[in-house]
């Protein structure tokens, strides 16, 4: 790794921590925004043979030439390895041929369930969110799932109001009982730390980011925080990692440096 960078945002830390979850040669389903940037960092540094599926119907073996505002921008198509139908790319996911998927969401709970549909009662919601799109399929079907989420107490709830994208349900082999084919979340990467999941599907804090602390994370998390026995500090972004993020997102459109 190149030397750690000195000045970076929590979003950038989240992106690089997520990128390190991707192994070389993997087939990856990539969502918009942070997930896309995490994939770009991985592909440029430690996973040059990873390939990316986009739900709009693309497969890329190379990176797009510039920042994508949507996965169907012309730059996403240019140089793609396969341009096809949504049912085929999500079908390959359903057929068990995708190693890992990266997704965000609006709410997450300690079992890694994601809500992007309703805040409040679905019959009389406080907020109608956009919905799951392909993320429900990623969560159901991918070999494993990397969740990415800004860490705020209103988002980290004891129990999501609605399961748009299933994690480990209520724990205790819930996925096996539901017969969900995908492996479920392997990591929940936030702007403050990195969670992993124990055998009963509960999230525990595996590391906190250099700018954060376990206490701060506990305060921003709506469930009693469980800690890894070897709880450590997330390695900060390297200059190389940061330079890739900033090459694609020079004005900080997605990483919030402009806000």
């Amino acid at each position: 790794m190149s030397p750690p960078a000195q000045d970076y945002s929590p979003m950038e830390q989240m992106i690089v921590a997520a990128s390190r979850e991707i192994a070389d040669g993997e087939v990856v389903f990539v969502g918009m925004r942070m997930p896309m940037l995490a994939f770009m960092v991985a592909k440029r540094l430690h996973a040059p043979r990873a390939v990316a599926y986009f739900e709009c119907g693309l497969l890329r073996e190379t990176l797009p030439a510039k920042l994508l505002y949507t996965l169907a921008d012309p730059a996403a198509f240019a140089g793609a390895g396969w341009a096809t139908q949504t049912t085929y790319v999500l079908g390959q996911l359903a057929a068990g041929r995708v190693d890992v998927a990266l997704v965000g969401g609006a709410q997450v709970d300690r079992f890694g369930n994601i809500n992007t549909t309703y805040i409040g009662d679905s019959r009389q919601p406080t907020v109608r969110l956009p919905g799951g799109g392909g993320a429900s399929d990623f969560a159901s079907l991918a070999g494993r799932l990397i969740l990415m989420m800004p860490h705020e107490r209103r988002r980290f709830v004891p129990r999501v109001d609605y399961i748009t994208s299933p994690g480990y349900g209520d724990g205790n082999s819930w996925r096996e009982r539901m017969r969900l084919p995908g492996g479920g979340p392997s990591a929940l990467v936030t702007t403050l730390g990195l969670f992993r999941f124990n055998e009963s599907g509960e999230a525990y804090l595996a590391s906190y980011h250099p700018h954060a602390s376990a206490e701060q994370i506990a305060a921003e998390t709506g469930w009693p925080l469980a800690l890894a026995p070897d709880l450590g500090v997330t390695p900060p972004p390297t200059r190389e990692e940061l330079s890739i993020i900033r090459e694609y997102d020079p004005v900080g459109f997605w990483t919030g440096r402009d806000r």
Binding site: C56, T70, A72, P130, A135, S140, T164, P166, W174, L180
Partner: protein
């Protein structure tokens, strides 16, 4: 791409056997008036964030269409506009929002406050919506999937039916087939017989065209007959199902069209800001839809603003 079989094609064309169809070319106003009546179940935005038929949707709004059922995976503010304009009773969708800017304000107002009218929503995943359309195009009453097992979507969408496999008893979600009345596609090229070339990410465009009773094409370019059938693999759907072909250059603005136009990100962001309030949305709608007679005038307005903004120091 090397066009295949040029010589044989030239030979075939020299036979001059006549095509099976009359001209389907018409105006946007006529196409929408004739083929998308009140109450239609209509697919729009089948290619997800690309080639979204905004011009057709704006004509639906101008003609005050009512009681529509909108069907589409991710429509990137198009559904929001139709909902805000009061055209829609029901949305069968994967995701409704503004892909680069955030939540869909009109969609929120309709669901949360029944403004301007109540809206029923059937939430699908993008896979399950694709399977629903695919099933209709295959004459299958449903397609089973293991996606969405344990999620809350099947509890709220009667077309995602939990059950067990007749083969081995394992749990499945049966995705009921969904046959729209009309699928509206914006494509790169079409001819007046209804052959249409679509390229780029295809989303659920093929499935939606095969599922529908009829297909309405808006195209960047209408080209002479015989050109597109030189490469029939590029043709998106059987011309026989196409009822109208409308030349609509820039008819997907502000969404991108591969080979033609980039996405106009700032237009999406401006819509997001202005539609935050009902008054803001209505002013936006007046400026960009109701107060604009047609696509040509829309682009004139866009161009005038661009020129003006460049002239401003």
């Amino acid at each position: 791409m090397t066009p295949p079989e040029r010589e044989i094609l030239a030979h075939a064309e020299s036979r001059g056997t006549s095509p099976g169809t009359d001209s389907k070319r018409t105006t946007m106003a006529e196409a929408i008036a004739r083929f998308v009546p009140d109450g239609s179940r209509v697919v729009l935005g089948a290619c997800l964030e690309a080639a979204i038929p905004f011009a057709a949707a704006h004509e639906l709004i101008r003609q005050h269409r009512r009681n529509l059922t909108l069907i589409g995976p991710i429509s990137d503010i198009l559904f929001d506009q139709l909902i805000g304009a009061g055209c829609v009773d029901r949305a069968i969708v994967g995701w409704v929002g503004n892909v680069s800017a955030g939540l869909a304000h009109c969609f929120r107002r309709a669901v949360e406050q029944s403004v301007p009218r109540p809206l029923a929503v059937q939430d699908h995943s993008n896979l399950s919506l694709g399977l629903a359309l695919l099933a209709a195009g295959l004459g299958a009453p449903f397609i089973p999937t293991r996606s969405l097992l344990g999620s809350d979507l099947p509890r709220h969408n009667p077309d995602l039916v939990p059950g067990t496999s007749p083969l081995d008893g394992s749990p499945l979600i049966f995705v009921r087939s969904l046959a729209p009345d009309v699928t509206i596609l914006h494509v790169q090229k079409a001819d007046e017989e209804g052959h249409a070339w679509l390229w780029g990410n295809l989303g659920v465009a093929v499935e939606a065209a095969l599922a529908a009773d009829r297909v309405l094409i808006t195209a960047e370019e209408v080209v002479p007959g015989g050109v597109l059938t030189e490469d029939p693999n590029r043709v998106v759907a059987p011309a026989q199902k196409v009822v109208a072909v409308v030349e609509a250059p820039g008819g997907a603005h502000p969404s991108p069209v591969i080979g033609y136009t980039e996405r106009d990100h700032e237009f999406f962001h401006e819509y997001h800001r202005r539609s935050r309030t009902l008054e803001g949305f209505n002013a936006w709608l007046e400026e960009w839809v109701l107060g604009v007679p047609n696509l040509e005038a829309y682009h004139e307005r866009l161009e005038a603003r661009r020129t003006q903004s460049e002239a401003t120091p």
